[in-house]
Structures are given as structure tokens and as C-alpha cells.
């Protein structure tokens, strides 16, 4: 047997295991051989299409008869291609039944039934589509960004080359230097390939000069990633490309500047005045290291390089097969001491305790987004549950109305299984239609998201509805279909006799009404909870957008400098370094003001203590608030644009003469001097025994942990002060107010620091705008996404309630007819129905309010400027829902009150 035949035969044998054991004992061997013979025949005589059809027909045949065998035992066989003359036997003759063709029949009947109830069908399908669509859309995002590997071959072997300097307080973020590259290359056996680059902004001259972001990279970058150019080529391994001046451009750049002309390869670009030949164009999806980079140009780093260089480079490496990240880090860690001799950087190594840190590339890229996305997925599943609940309720209510029909069927011999099939058919149809529509909606939503999503969301361009996502959606559809089938089938209806005697309506009227009432209550309560959540999120979002952080973030460059205690053994020396650095930085052209602080706004660190106020006795019963302490230089407030509320800012005189002039934020005033003027008052940080400070000014509050928290109280103390010499910090964050775009001064900044001490690295270079955006974007994005989810939930809730109530009212048509016939006026009847259903709705509202009250505290971390029990949101949501429920009750009530009562009674 050939290999292909062997595979098919094995598949067939696998399918055979579906049969019950008794069958297999008799026939398994025979069937295998028969199949093998037939397979050989088919291969010999038929073409590819014929062979495929043969296999499909055989496998499907086995499937059908195996199911028949298991289900029916004595069921007839219908495996022929010709139609059986028995197809006309009525469904209720259960003697010769093939469950599979009965299912097909049930599906057809189910479709007919559904089209006869367009209201129910439409409501169910749309509801389900919204639920499945929302869940699928968010899952697309989660799958594409968090779960799917990066779009590079064997991307799990790619690592980000980073270093930590625990001795100077830097846990990661140092990056690479040219010296490290020269040293690692060829030495580290754990790396199959590595590349390093440095980002820059360059001017492209020509017809339309523009400023673009570029990378100067070692030539192996593309090879390490494993990517090729779409047109032209990428850099070769040698140095020819460097020597002759080449550049690879991004797809975006190619479209923008050359209109997608394939002849762009070979043209010459003027790159800050240097002509470079374009040798390749990257494919459309390629964005490394981020979507803003448009050009890559090669540089070589001499392996014999003798200078260590600054940490302004970044790098990646591809691990050799079978090597773990930990092993790579260990190997490199052992090589670090060798840097001492090679570059003479012994002091830097001792001070910083340089250590390699190699996170996987995906980890580095996805870092922040992961948590948020999982939360989003959880919330959207909640929406799906509501959708399913809606549809299940609709199905239940409808099933109630068909109890007579069901009872008749059962009397005529339909078994439990048949009833299940009856509902399964409808469930499958609704689920399929809802699923198809939902996937279409999801596709649309994903496209909108990719176009408008926050740029800081990593891998956004890669988000798409992939086969894995469709598989997920299919799973949802299957699950919901089963649920919708089981829900009505598992209900125990009243006996047939009771139903036949009194018709659908009167049987167990009391219990029936209670059941329906419970449905409405559930709908209303669920919808209300979600509505309230929406309200809270919307208000949070509005607050977020309007929030004044208390400082300015435009044109501000920040970075961190860490000194080591070994090199700077006392505060005077470290203070002197920082002072000289500040002077040097302020002197850079383009820098207006230079300031320094132990911790920038949104730096996520507290470092606080309580304050002891002079002249205030210790009150053991009250616990004073903890205040975050920052040490700043005198120009810090001006550099960051922190607004002064009252008093004055400290000046150079204060700081140089060490008068202990302190500035406090407004929260501190609220906490410690709520009824008095704090200016001129003195305090000590801690419980005493340290230096005294005098309040000279009050500034606006600035956030520490992001915009979601209440503003923390912050006290700004002078950078150098204190008789015990323990106050001067070793690590400071610098903030520069620039008159030019902040990135432009970065090289000058590095030069200033380097000229003071070549062994001191700077890290965490970012503009204040980037910091604020990073702190904000996740919140904003989450808020928007949750808002959308809750909005969908609102729509679902509204549709669901309307559907259930109007159907329930429709069921009372007969009662309405009787009342009208007995002389009631239409208005009276309508009011009565409103009152009855209204009672149920009111109960639902109460339950919903209670539930929301309990649950919204879980949302606290997502809210901003709004309490979880915000009365405006609660009242608004309840009011809206009450109006909707009222409308949903009133419209059908009025409609049925208008019908001619005689006709209503007759149409029994």
C-alpha cells in the first residue's frame, strides 16, 4: 500500500471505532479489508476528484451508519444514492428511522416554524449576533496580540537584549552598547545570530523634505528576524552594503514617497545630506521595532572595538536551537567580568553590577497590554452570557405557548429524544444565523479597531479575524445551540390530558405566570446592572478626558541618571554631580529649563511617610495620612510646569543656603492643615528626630499611579539638605523643558552626562507626553472598550425585555378579548396590563439595583472620579430602563386591546 493509501486506510479504521463494540466484533476486520480493496480500485480507475469523493462518501457513510447503530439499533439503512421509496413515511412512524435524515427533516421544519414567527426569530438572531460578535471581536484582539506568536519564523527563539544595573537602581532598560555588541558577537554560543541598532531622527531632503524615524543597525537585523524584503533585498552579511551607503525602506514610506513604484529600488535618497541607495522595500505588515520607523540603514561595529560606548543601543538575538533564555543569560553573565579588561570599565561594572536580562521578544512587545486585554475578554463574555440568557428566555416563553403541540406529539409516540431533536433543530438554526451575523459584525468591528485603536497598543496592525478566531466563534455557536435546545426540552410540561382539556392558556395559569414573571425580573435586573456599569464607565471616561494633571507634558524630555555609592561616597559629591549636570543641561541649546526630582509624576512609586507638624501634639487617636516625599531642585516646578496655588516656589538661594524650604501639594493641606494657612508652618517627615522644613508654597496635585487614583499628597523637599548627610539621592529623574522637539536634544544630553563621568549611563529616556500617554492609554482604551461592551449589553437588555414582555402580553390576548367583550374599555384593559407587568418590572429594577450595588465595587479600579455607588448613574440607568419597560408593555397591550374581541375569542 502506498503512503497515501495507508493514511486513508488508517483514517477509515479510526472512523470504524465509532461503531458499538458488538458491531465491530462482527465486521471491523471485514470492513477494513473491503475498504482497502475498494480504495485500491478507486486509485487505479478514478481521477483525483473521484478519489476524493470516494473517500468522503465512505467516511460519511460510516459516520451516518455508526450514529444510526448507536442510536437506533433497529433503524433502517439509508446509505444509498438512490432515494428510498420509504421517504414518504410520516415522521411519527418510528419503526424505520434514520436519525440523520430525520434531523435534516427537523431542520427544514424548524426553519419553517421560525420564519412563521419573524419577531421571535429576528430578536433571537440579532441578540445572539451581538453577543457572539462582541466576544469574537475582542477574542480576535486578544488572540492576535497576546496569544499568537510574533510574525517572524520561530519567533519564540527571539530575545530582547537588555541589561540591568541593580547597583544603580535600574531593574532593566539599560539596553545595549556598541562595545557589548562587539564583545558578545562571536563569543556567546547561545546566540545563533544577533543584531543591534540605535534609533535616530533624520532629515530626508529632496522635493519634499521630511523628518523620519530611522534605525542605524548592524546588517544582521533582518536575518536575525528571519524576514525578507518585498521588493529588492535586505542587507547582506558582509560590509559591502555599509561601505556603499544603502538603506531599506518601509512599506509605508514607499507608498507615501514613491507611490508604490517598484522602480524605487535603486533610487537614491538623501539622508541628512548623505546619498544612500534604496536596496529594498519591506512588506506591508513589517514594523520593527515599532510602526514609526521608516528607514533602516546598516552600520558596522568593528569586532575589535576598544571603547565601550553608551547605552543608547538596543538589540535582539536569536537563540541557538534548544538553548533557553536562562542559559543564554547565564552564559552572558559569566562573560561580563571579561569586559573589565577589554574595555577598562571596571568601575562601571562594580558600580552598576551590570547583569544581562533577556526577555523574549514577544514579552517585551506585549508587556503592558496583556492584563487589560484579558479583563476585556472577561467582560465581553458577560455580554455574551446576557445575550444567551435573552435568547433562552425567548425560547422558553415561546415553548410555553406551544405546550399543546408538544403534548400531542408525545402522545403520538415521540420520545424524549424526538422532543430534543425538535428543539435542537431550532436551536441550531438560530445559533448558526446568529453566529454568521456575529462573525460578520466582528470582522467589521476589528477593521474599525485597527484603524482607530491607540498606537501604543502593540501589534495592533496584526489584529485580524483568523481561522483560530473563527474556530472559537464556531465553538460559541455550538455551545449556544446546545443550550437553546436543552433549555425547553428539559422543562416538564403538564400532562397531555390537562393541556387538551383547557387549551394552552389556563393550564397551571398561576404557575405559568410566576415563571414568566421570573423571566422578566431576570432580564430587567441583568440589563440594569450592565446599564449602571455603562453609566459609571461613561462618567469616568468624561472625567479622564477633562482631567488636569497639574503639570504640562508637551516639550518635556525626561530621563534617569543613577550614581553608585562607591563612586560617590558622600552626599556632597553626588550633590555636586547633579548640580553640575543641571548646569550643563540647562546650557544645551534648545533647553529652556532643567529640573530634577527623585520621582516624576506617574512614576508609580510612593516613598512616603507621615508628617509631624510643629506645635501640634501627638494625637494617638488619629492616624495622619502618609505623604509621598520627593526631593527636587529649585527649577523642577518651572521645568515641569507644575502650577503654584499659593505662596512661592523655592529659589536657588533657598536651596543653596539650605533653609529647608519645602513645597507641598494641595492634598497635604487638606490632610494636615484643613482649617489653617500652611504657609510658614514647620514640619518634620516621620515622627521626629529629623530635620525641620518650612512650608513656603502650595502647588497643584499631580498623580503618582495613574489617573485612576485619588490625588496623593506630595511634599517636595530640597535636593540637598540635612545635617546628617543622608538626604542626597543617588538616582534622579531629570526633566528638561525644551523649545525644540524633545528628542532632538538627546544626543547633547548624553554628551553632557558623559563629559561629567563617562561611566554613568542614562536610562528611561522618554518625553513627558509619552509617559502620560502610556499611563492614560490603557485606561482610556479599556474605558472605551468596556463602554462599547456595556452599550451592546444595553441594546441586548432593551431588545430582550421588549421581546419577553411583548410576547407575554401577547399571550394574554384571550383574557383581553374576554374583558373587552364583557364591556371593559380599551383604556382600562391597557392600564390593568400595565399595572400587572409593571409590578414585575419594578421588582426587576429593585433586584437589579441591589445587584449593581454589590457588584460595582469590583469595578473600582477602573473608575476615575466616580464612586462605584454614584447616584446619578444608578438613578439614570433605572429611569431609562423603567421607561423602556413601560413602552415595551404599553405598545403590545394597546395593540391587543384594539383587536375585535369576537375575533380574539374565536381564534382559539
Amino acid at each position: 500500500m502506498s503512503r497515501g493509501q495507508g493514511l486513508r486506510a488508517r483514517t477509515y479504521a479510526g472512523f470504524l471505532r465509532l461503531y458499538p463494540r458488538s458491531f465491530r466484533e462482527l465486521f471491523e476486520e471485514d470492513m477494513r479489508r473491503t475498504f482497502a480493496t475498494r480504495l485500491a480500485e478507486a486509485d487505479a480507475t478514478a481521477g483525483t476528484l473521484g478519489r476524493t469523493r470516494f473517500l468522503a462518501v465512505e467516511l460519511f457513510g460510516v459516520l451516518r451508519s455508526a450514529v444510526s447503530q448507536r442510536l437506533g439499533g433497529r433503524a433502517a439503512d439509508h446509505g444509498m444514492r438512490l432515494g428510498s421509496p420509504l421517504k414518504s413515511v410520516p415522521t411519527l412512524n418510528t419503526r424505520r428511522k434514520d436519525p440523520m435524515s430525520i434531523l435534516a427533516q427537523e431542520l427544514r421544519h424548524g426553519l419553517r416554524r421560525l420564519t412563521r414567527n419573524p419577531g421571535f426569530t429576528l430578536a433571537s438572531v440579532v441578540t445572539l449576533a451581538l453577543g457572539i460578535g462582541a466576544t469574537t471581536a475582542v477574542y480576535s484582539v486578544v488572540h492576535s496580540i497576546v496569544l499568537r506568536p510574533l510574525p517572524y519564523p520561530e519567533s519564540d527563539r527571539l530575545v530582547w537584549l537588555d541589561h540591568a544595573g541593580p547597583g544603580i537602581g535600574t531593574a532593566r532598560g539599560l539596553g545595549m552598547t556598541r562595545g557589548l555588541y562587539a564583545y558578545y558577537r562571536g563569543r556567546v554560543t547561545a546566540f545563533e545570530d544577533m543584531a543591534t541598532w540605535t534609533p535616530m531622527e533624520v532629515n530626508i531632503t529632496g522635493d519634499e523634505p521630511e523628518r523620519v524615524r530611522a534605525l542605524a543597525t548592524t546588517p544582521e537585523l533582518f536575518r536575525t528576524l528571519g524576514v525578507r524584503a518585498e521588493h529588492g533585498r535586505v542587507f547582506g552579511a558582509g560590509s559591502e552594503d555599509v561601505a556603499s551607503g544603502t538603506v531599506v525602506i518601509s512599506h509605508r514610506f514607499w507608498m507615501r514617497r514613491y507611490g508604490g513604484d517598484p522602480d524605487a529600488v535603486g533610487r537614491v535618497l538623501s539622508f541628512t545630506g548623505v546619498p544612500l541607495e534604496i536596496i529594498g522595500v519591506m512588506p506591508a505588515g513589517f514594523a520593527f521595532p515599532d510602526p514609526h520607523v521608516d528607514l533602516w540603514t546598516p552600520v558596522t561595529i568593528d569586532p575589535g572595538l576598544s571603547s565601550f560606548g553608551g547605552f543608547s543601543w538596543q538589540g535582539i538575538a536569536r537563540l541557538a536551537p534548544g538553548v533557553t533564555r536562562a542559559a543564554a543569560e547565564a552564559e552572558v553573565r559569566a562573560l561580563i567580568p571579561g569586559l573589565r579588561e577589554r574595555f577598562g570599565v571596571g568601575r562601571m561594572l562594580d558600580d552598576s553590577g551590570l547583569t544581562p536580562v533577556f526577555p523574549s521578544l514577544k514579552e517585551e512587545v506585549v508587556r503592558e497590554a496583556e492584563r487589560t486585554l484579558w479583563i476585556l475578554l472577561g467582560s465581553v463574555c458577560f455580554v455574551l452570557l446576557l445575550a444567551c440568557a435573552n435568547v433562552a428566555n425567548l425560547v422558553l416563553v415561546r415553548a410555553e405557548g406551544r405546550q399543546r403541540e408538544t403534548a400531542v406529539r408525545r402522545a403520538l409516540g415521540a420520545g424524549r429524544l424526538d422532543v430534543l431533536r425538535y428543539h435542537l433543530a431550532e436551536g441550531v438554526l438560530i445559533a448558526l444565523a446568529g453566529g454568521a451575523l456575529g462573525v460578520a459584525l466582528a470582522g467589521l468591528a476589528v477593521r474599525i479597531l485597527v484603524a482607530t485603536g491607540p498606537e501604543t497598543l502593540p501589534r495592533l496592525a496584526e489584529v485580524s479575524v483568523s481561522p483560530a478566531v473563527l474556530g472559537f466563534a464556531l465553538l460559541l455557536v455550538a455551545g449556544t445551540a446546545v443550550v437553546f435546545a436543552l433549555v425547553p426540552a428539559l422543562r416538564r410540561g403538564p400532562s397531555m390530558a390537562a393541556t387538551m382539556k383547557s387549551g394552552d392558556r389556563r393550564a397551571s395559569a398561576g404557575r405559568r405566570a410566576a415563571g414568566r414573571g421570573a423571566l422578566v425580573v431576570t432580564q430587567v435586573a441583568l440589563a440594569l446592572v450592565l446599564l449602571i456599569a455603562t453609566g459609571l464607565m461613561s462618567r469616568s471616561f468624561v472625567h479622564l478626558v477633562r482631567y488636569d494633571p497639574g503639570f504640562d507634558s508637551d516639550s518635556r524630555l525626561t530621563f534617569r541618571v543613577g550614581l553608585s555609592p562607591h563612586a560617590y561616597p558622600d552626599d556632597r559629591s553626588s550633590a555636586a554631580f547633579h548640580r553640575e549636570a543641571l548646569d550643563g543641561l540647562a546650557a544645551i541649546p534648545g533647553v529652556e529649563v532643567a529640573g530634577a526630582t527623585t520621582c516624576l509624576p506617574l512614576c508609580d512609586r510612593w516613598g512616603g511617610t507621615q508628617l509631624s507638624v510643629e506645635g501640634r501634639p501627638d494625637d494617638p487617636s488619629s492616624v495622619p495620612r502618609v505623604v509621598a516625599i520627593r526631593r527636587v531642585n529649585e527649577s523642577y516646578f518651572e521645568a515641569l510646569g507644575i502650577r503654584l496655588v499659593t505662596g512661592r516656589l523655592p529659589n536657588r538661594f533657598d536651596h543653596e543656603s539650605e533653609t529647608g524650604a519645602a513645597v507641598i501639594s494641595r492634598e497635604v493641606v487638606d490632610a494636615y492643615w484643613p482649617d489653617e494657612d500652611p504657609l510658614g508652618r514647620r514640619f518634620q517627615p516621620g515622627s521626629g528626630g529629623s530635620d525641620w522644613y518650612t512650608v513656603v508654597g502650595v502647588v497643584a496635585d499631580t498623580p503618582i499611579n495613574g489617573y485612576a487614583a485619588d490625588p496623593p499628597p506630595i511634599a517636595y523637599l530640597p535636593l540637598v539638605y540635612g545635617s546628617d548627610g543622608s538626604n542626597s539621592p543617588y538616582e534622579l529623574s531629570y526633566v528638561l523643558r525644551t523649545s525644540v522637539p524633545p528628542q532632538r536634544v538627546i544626543p547633547a544630553v548624553r554628551e553632557v552626562i558623559r563629559s561629567l563621568d563617562a561611566d554613568v549611563p542614562i536610562s528611561d529616556v522618554a518625553t513627558m507626553e509619552e509617559i502620560v500617554a502610556a499611563a492614560n492609554v490603557q485606561t482610556a482604551f479599556t474605558a472605551v472598550m468596556l463602554g462599547i461592551a456595556a452599550g451592546i449589553a444595553l441594546l441586548l437588555g432593551v431588545v430582550g425585555i421588549y421581546g419577553v414582555i411583548s410576547y407575554a402580553v401577547g399571550r394574554r390576548t384571550r383574557e383581553i378579548g374576554i374583558r373587552l367583550a364583557l364591556g371593559a374599555r380599551a383604556g382600562q384593559v391597557t392600564r390593568r396590563i400595565l399595572r400587572d407587568e409593571g409590578r414585575v418590572t419594578a421588582l426587576g429594577l429593585v433586584v437589579g439595583l441591589a445587584g449593581a450595588f454589590a457588584l460595582t465595587r469590583l469595578m473600582r479600579s477602573l473608575l476615575f472620579g466616580v464612586s462605584p455607588t454614584d447616584p446619578v448613574s444608578f438613578a439614570g440607568a433605572a429611569g431609562l430602563l423603567a421607561i423602556v419597560a413601560l413602552l415595551a408593555t404599553w405598545v403590545p397591550a394597546r395593540r391587543s386591546a384594539r383587536i375585535d374581541p369576537a375575533r380574539t375569542l374565536r381564534a382559539e
Binding site: 460519511f60 451508519s65 439509508h78 444509498m80 444514492r81
Partner: protein, 118 residues
């Protein structure tokens, strides 16, 4: 007589079942051979899949219309194949079915829907 009502219970037969009984009328056979025979006799119009074929055989066996024929297996070159032969009940049922079909065809001729059988 208890056997008679039993045979009538199985009529009408499905097309495949009837063909199987007919094919076994000429002597014992096994699954593959029977399928091939049916295919040949109907000029390829009836080509059951292995699944439906063996399912039909199982049902006929369960109903007692056919039974395993180990002696035929022993005689043939392939001992492991599962051979079947008609039982007396099976013969009876086949005869009844043929009679029924004959009656139907005669009726069709009377209604001028089919040429007379003569």
C-alpha cells in the same frame, strides 16, 4: 403458525436489504463480494458505501433473515472473512417481498402506467 406472521412483519424491505437477500439467494457470500454483486446487477445504479452495507447486513442478521456461514469461510481462500447465508425466514421474506413488488407492478399495468407483464 407462529412463523408466518413473523415473516410478514419484515415487509416491505428497503431496497438494499432486498438486494442483499437476492444476492445471497445464489449461495453464501461476504460483505465485499455482495456489494460488488449488487453493483454489477444494478449496472452501478446501486453502490452502497461500506458503512451502509455492513449496517444492513447487521440488521438482517439481528432480524434473523441471514446467519453467519462459517463453513463457507473455511472453504474459501480467505478464512477470516465473515460469510453469511440466508435462513429459512430470510427466504420466506424475500419471497414475500418479490410477491408484493409483483403485485404492485401488475397494478401499475392495470392503471396503464407500465406495460403489461403478459
Amino acid at each position: 403458525m407462529p412463523r408466518r406472521p413473523k415473516a410478514e412483519r419484515f415487509v416491505p424491505l428497503s431496497n438494499l436489504s432486498f438486494h442483499l437477500l437476492l444476492a445471497l439467494g445464489g449461495g453464501p457470500g461476504h460483505g465485499y463480494g455482495l456489494g460488488k454483486e449488487i453493483e454489477r446487477r444494478t449496472d452501478g445504479r446501486l453502490t452502497p458505501t461500506t458503512g451502509s452495507l455492513y449496517q444492513a447486513l447487521k440488521r438482517l442478521a439481528d432480524d434473523g433473515l441471514i446467519e453467519p456461514a462459517p463453513e463457507a469461510a473455511a472453504e474459501s481462500s480467505d478464512e477470516r472473512r465473515q460469510y453469511f447465508r440466508l435462513t429459512a425466514l430470510g427466504r420466506e421474506v424475500a419471497r414475500l417481498e418479490a410477491t408484493r413488488l409483483h403485485e404492485l407492478v401488475r397494478l401499475a399495468a392495470e392503471c396503464r402506467l407500465y406495460p403489461s407483464l403478459g
